[in-house]
């Protein structure tokens, strides 16, 4: 097992941030998975000592700058998701692959719901149900990456 180091954590987060910065439009914007939160959750589940609540908060602030929303909105949403990820971290080893996916889905939903509440309180119109499509596409991306990792690992062990 490779040990995770801090450099790979930040490089992954940077890559996810650049993916977020791509000019998404229309349905792409609706379906855009939350790359940064997925990267944060991955590292939080794998190496919680390198990536924790503070990392999530800082990345949330950067997202706030990029999206033009008030400082602290995404930071708060990411911190809440990170809190649940770390709180239930020890339980994760008991889960099978599908249960882990469900766990990630719930964490993505937590961040979206916190953001929704903040936005509604600051006077935004309630978006339709398609607002939550981003969580679904996020968990689909997560599952695709997990499957890709399993295939890579099997290829390595057979080679």
């Amino acid at each position: 097992m490779r040990r995770a180091n801090l450099k790979s954590v930040w490089l992954t987060l940077l890559a996810a941030y650049v993916l977020y910065l791509l000019p998404w439009e229309g349905y792409g914007l609706l379906l855009r998975p939350d790359f940064v939160l997925l990267a944060l959750l991955y590292w939080m589940l794998r190496a919680p000592r390198l990536c924790n609540l503070g990392t999530a908060w800082v990345m949330g602030l950067l997202i706030d700058v990029a999206s033009g929303s008030y400082f602290g909105q995404h930071a708060l949403a990411y911190s809440c998701a990170a809190f649940f990820a770390i709180q239930y971290h020890r339980r994760l080893v008991l889960f099978n692959s599908m249960q882990q996916t469900g766990h990630v889905f719930l964490l993505l939903l937590v961040s979206q719901i916190v953001l929704l509440v903040i936005k509604l309180m600051s006077g935004n119109e309630a978006p339709g149900w398609d607002y939550f499509l981003s969580s679904i596409s996020g968990v689909v991306l997560w599952q695709a990456l997990v499957i890709a990792r399993v295939i890579v690992a099997e290829n390595r062990s057979s080679a």
Binding site: Y20, L62, S79, S122
Partner: protein, 314 residues
């Protein structure tokens, strides 16, 4: 079969050092909420946001590069027939516009003459800047676009943004190299409008989710019909008068509701164009009242202090 995540888990320290997750969450939540309040109400963080956005600019350019390259290539390999058709359409449009323009020149001369008769201040011709839309806003809650002109190009917050068909929106945030335009269909943007047919004035607002514009607080028996054109009234000093804003699509008059529900479709082709015009605020308008910053207060205080000394001089 062990799950893939399990293989890569690192054992954490069993005894947690430092603050518990709940304490950290509480700390970060409080800091976030304070930041939100400071940013939304006190506007102290504008400079910090601008600084970070400049630092992030290279990243944004890097992220945009593949998309720009794709657009460039797809434009480059346009077929000749599409170009010829487009050229012909543009020529026809130029011909129609030139006719309007000739009348406009006469009218402008006449208007200047009238104004000189009335001793009114002449309206200055205002240079409009052509900006290119970089991308649409990243926040799915608001309707915004980012334009490639910023403070370094002389853009100021509050400028009106139009395209060839009508009002697109208003500049709401200016960064050094780009600026953020809130679209007319955004829930937060209100535009003073006038019904072209009857001259009735109203203010847009209460916009729906599906790219529509609402006209709130008009009585049920208001004289508006579906198909009415709404143009800017020009009384706000932001938008020049007479620009098309939207067209009335549907009116819902319920006798038990105090106000009519009016839905309009925007006139500007917001999702179609890549270029927009940024026009400066009208110059014959009194400046908008801006709450003074702390730095301005000291300047204002020192000025009256100086004034009494001035008459002593002779």
């Amino acid at each position: 079969m062990p799950s893939p995540m399990e293989q890569h888990l690192q054992p954490t320290a069993f005894f947690i050092r430092g603050a518990s997750p709940l304490a950290r969450l509480a700390f970060y939540a409080i800091v976030s909420i304070v930041l939100m309040g400071v940013d939304a109400r006190l506007h102290y963080l504008v400079e910090i946001r601008q600084g970070i956005s400049v630092a992030l600019h290279p990243l944004e350019v890097a992220a945009r590069a593949p998309v720009d390259a794709y657009n460039y290539i797809s434009e480059y390999i346009h077929t000749q027939t599409t170009l010829v058709a487009e050229n012909r359409a543009l020529r026809e449009k130029a011909l129609q516009d030139s006719e309007n323009l000739q009348r406009f020149n006469t009218l402008q001369a006449e208007n200047a003459h009238m104004r000189s008769l009335l001793n009114a201040t002449p309206t200055l011709p205002q240079p409009a800047r052509l900006g290119e839309i970089i991308h649409s806003g990243r926040d799915p809650f608001s309707r915004k676009i980012i334009v490639n002109l910023g403070a370094r190009h002389g853009i100021t917050p509050g400028q009106a943004v139009i395209d060839e068909w009508g009002v697109v929106g208003q500049v709401t945030a200016v960064y050094p190299l780009s600026s953020e335009v809130t679209l007319v269909s955004d829930n937060d943007l209100a535009v003073p409008v006038q019904v072209e047919r009857s001259g009735l004035r109203a203010i847009t607002g209460k916009n729906g989710n599906n790219n529509s514009i609402g006209l709130p607080f008009l009585p049920v028996n208001v004289d508006i019909q579906p198909g009415d054109k709404l143009v800017t009234s020009g009384i706000d000093g932001v938008y020049p008068a007479g620009l098309a804003v939207c067209k009335v699509a549907a009116i819902d008059r319920k006798s038990d509701a105090p106000f009519a529900r009016i839905d309009c479709t925007p006139a500007a082709g917001i999702g179609i164009h890549r270029q927009v015009l940024l026009i400066p605020p009208a110059e014959n308008m009194p400046p908008l009242l801006v709450p003074p910053k702390p730095a301005d207060k000291t300047a204002a205080k020192s000025k009256p202090g100086k004034k009494p000394h001035a008459p002593r001089k002779p």
